[in-house]
Amino acid sequence: MSKVLLQIDGKDVEASEGMTILEAARSAGISIPTLCHHDKLEPFGGCRLCIVEVEIRGWTKRVVSCVYTVEENLVVRTRSEKIDKLRKMILELLLAHAPDSPELQNLAREYGADRDRFEKHASFCIHCGLCVRYCAEVKKKDAVGFVDRGVRKEISFIPEIAAKECWDCKECFPLCPTEALQAAYVLTKSLVSFPPSPEPAAEK
């Protein structure tokens, strides 16, 4: 595969064609924060935390580095006043869900994010989709998925599959950047109602 030369934070970086900026940066020891990225999974581009500034042919634009592929002579800046401001707000929005997540707290310190800027939501889930995508792409089980959309979107285990597959796996739990408890809770909730009681009247 042919080599691509680019510059990240003033450092010359040699990358392979087809690599994303994130991969190129990490290979050169430059860190870019991510929440929804996982080496084994297809790029998702959901958390937007890995947003960086690129300069190409005199144009500056902001792109998410987990998706944008490297180009010859690309100039990348992983930090700038603007980038930091965007990351700070993204973190503040997510801290409204998971204020106690150590991962978020570390990032919040780095970017000066206020964990209490927004009113708290009743869900720890930050919709990074790691559990959902890991189950689909790596385990190929689709035991957990997203339901609904937008602000009502939540993860949900499919009881029929989960009852069979999840007991011995639970590999998605440690992937959760907020609280593995969230996945555990949703899984448990889906399993208590499965299999459905043969005599629903008995519950009364």
Partner: protein, 642 residues
């Protein structure tokens, strides 16, 4: 019907078709678009057929159920040919008279004609009515003269001649050049030059390429694509086929909303007819070019109008956008080069091929060529679909065509571009419509929604409404849109409910910036527009809500109170009787007053108080005056006092 095998056969077929048609034979055309369906055109159609049979005129009169004529405010619409007499707001009861008077005796029925509100004169022909007179109906105009279910009708007006011209006389490169030269820009929202999009796909090395019609029109109040698909489906098919030829695609998709049943029905029928006639399928018109089209019905997600989400949905997955640093025309549907254009864009293509780019570019402005169909709705006298040359001023569209604001109210703003467009205020009404002009004003062309607002509209509430819509329609994949819009909605809702606080505007601005800069797709990046444009032009309204707890438009329920002016109340009991919650205290000869703690602010008392009294007042940002002493509430009539 045998397949038409060559352009010569097509012309011969057309000639035969026209020779069999009698241009002088009376023909009743009836608008049967969705809007007229809603106002009862089906019943009118049934009555026309019944009446024609009753009067034994089956052989003497043709009936044609056409697509939308555009003047939806006045539907159902009938036009009687060959005289082109236009009747509006037809009820089934009018039909016997129309048949016996106008069809049989050739007499015009005055009361069914359009009355010019300025001159009070009756107008016979559609083309003389101000609503139509100032339009340039290049794309939309055929709707009124063809039955969308009849391919012969489309052929009679010259249909598929552009396809024949392209396939027989032009190379794909020549077609592409013509479209590039026309500078046709995408009518769906982005305004990206169609020719450049096509060229990218054409030059992409992949053998398999796709062309797609985006008919997932989802903007509230917008229905131009719907009306085109319902009223002239073949024009879209013809444009799509020409585009496929130009880029070298053999497979096309029409992504249409399931909520548009008539459009789905008509486009499916049109595809079937075009296949039978040989305008689709193998070896089209003997050219050796093959092309097939499939219809995909969308399941009701606004975000699927976004190109990458639409393609993801077409692939059978959840309709969520994907990052498009590599454009869809290079890597789109199933990873193949895919040209996606909106309904109206495709419908422009046959015109450009037939009449040439030079003809097309004589319409419009430097940056925006041709015409644009707008859906003119809201507080406007003439609601409907209007097609105007790019560059017409907003003022002309709203006043000359739209007939201005009803009820003597003052114009306040026009919202263009759909939910993620922006509001343009009074002082910018001379703005010429065009892609770049509208963007510069903080709004956008979008797909052509145009919602007119009068002085009673609260701009903060407008922003809240559209952000609410977009929050609901956000797919939820990326943080700035899902979480950011949600927070914006909370803050806007608080402001309209009187719970706004200092710093809210600044926080909204910050959230807007993040959504604009960091969202994954165009839904998120454009979603803050309703807020940004209203805060740009109407910041004082935001401040009034936050600081004075006052809604200047007297619209936000939580910030207004109703009260009865004791000096004006005549104790007529009307408001007392109509109040649904019994909040009006009073009796005959006892001045009424509203018990504020009971009042639900429904506004009934305000509406029913006779205008000659005008005693019920709506106030905001000020305390309700204390009730007058009980003894002063007794009215002693002057006449009786004597």
């Amino acid at each position: 019907m045998p397949r038409i095998g060559s352009p010569a056969d097509l012309e011969k077929f057309r000639k035969d078709l026209l020779s069999k048609r009698e241009p002088d034979k009376p023909c009743i055309t009836l608008c049967s678009g969705s809007a007229c369906h809603a106002t009862g055109s089906r019943k009118v159609a049934a009555r026309i057929e019944e009446e024609i049979n009753k009067q034994g005129l089956q052989d003497k009169v043709d009936i044609r159920k056409t697509g939308c004529h555009g003047f939806c405010e006045r539907g159902p619409i009938i036009v009687i040919h060959p005289e082109k007499i236009a009747y509006f707001q037809i009820a089934p009861e009018d039909v016997p008279e129309i048949v016996s008077e106008t069809i049989v005796q050739k007499k015009v029925i005055e009361r069914l004609l359009y009355t010019d509100p300025d001159t009070n004169k009756k107008i016979i022909h559609e083309s003389d009515i101000p609503f139509y007179k100032h339009q340039e109906r290049l794309v939309f105009g055929f709707n009124g003269s063809i039955d969308p279910k009849s391919i012969d009708d489309y052929l009679a007006i010259g249909g598929y001649s552009a396809l024949a011209k392209a396939l027989s006389g032009m190379s794909p490169e020549q077609v592409l050049e013509e479209v590039k030269k026309s500078n046709l820009r995408g009518r769906g929202g982005g305004g990206f030059p169609a020719g450049r999009k096509w060229e990218g796909s054409r030059d992409a090395p992949d053998e398999i390429k796709y062309v797609i019609v985006n008919a997932d029109e989802g903007d509230p109040g917008a229905y131009m694509d719907r009306s085109l698909l319902e009223g002239n489906p073949h024009s879209i098919l013809e444009g799509l086929t020409i585009g496929a030829y130009a880029i070298g695609s053999h497979e096309g998709y029409i992504y249409v909303r399931q909520e548009y049943p008539l459009a789905v029905e008509n486009i499916i029928l049109a595809i079937k007819m075009a296949e039978e006639y040989g305008f689709l399928g193998k070896n089209i018109l003997g050219s050796g070019f093959d092309f097939t089209v499939k219809v995909h019905r969308g399941a009701g997600a606004f975000v699927c109008g976004e190109s990458t989400a639409l393609m993801t949905a077409l692939e059978g997955r959840v309709g969520e956008p994907r990052p498009k640093y590599i454009r869809s025309n290079i890597k789109g549907l199933w990873g193949r080069p895919s040209v996606l254009n909106n309904v109206e864009t495709w419908a422009n293509v046959p015109l450009i091929v037939n009449r040439g780019a030079d003809w097309f570019t004589q319409y419009g402005t430097e940056g925006s060529k041709g015409t644009k169909i707008f859906s003119l709705v809201g507080k406007i006298t003439n609601t409907g679909l209007v097609e105007v040359p790019m560059g017409m001023s907003l003022k002309d569209i709203i006043y000359k065509i739209g007939g201005g604001i009803p009820g003597g109210k003052r114009f306040k703003a026009v919202q263009t571009g759909g939910p993620s467009g922006g509001c343009i205020p009074d002082e910018l009404l001379d703005l010429e419509v065009g892609f770049d002009e509208l963007t510069k004003a903080g709004s956008m062309m979008g797909s052509g929604g145009m919602i007119v607002m009068d002085e009673d509209t609260c701009m903060v509430d407008v922003a809240r409404y559209f952000i609410d819509f977009l929050t609901d329609e956000s797919c939820g994949k990326c943080v700035p849109c899902r979480e950011g819009l949600g927070q914006m909605l909370t803050i806007l809702t608080n402001i309209t409910a009187g719970k706004g606080k200092e710093g809210d505007i600044e926080l909204l601005e910050e959230l807007a910036e993040v959504a604009k800069e960091a969202s994954l797709c165009a839904l998120g990046t454009s979603a803050p527009n309703p807020f940004l444009s209203t805060v740009r032009y109407f910041r004082q309204e935001y401040e009034a809500h936050i600081r004075e707890k006052k809604c200047p438009a007297l619209s936000c329920k939580e910030l207004i109170s109703y009260y009865i002016d004791p000096n004006k109340c005549q104790a007529c009991m009307i408001c007392k009787r109509k109040c649904p919650v019994d909040a009006v205290d009073g009796a005959k000869k006892t001045i009424h007053l509203i018990e504020q703690e009971k009042c639900t602010k429904c506004g009934t008392c305000f509406e029913v108080c006779p205008s000659k009294f005008g005693a019920v007042k709506k106030i905001s940002g000020e305390p309700v005056p204390s009730p007058i002493p009980e003894e002063e509430r007794i009215i002693t009539r002057k006449s009786k006092a004597k």
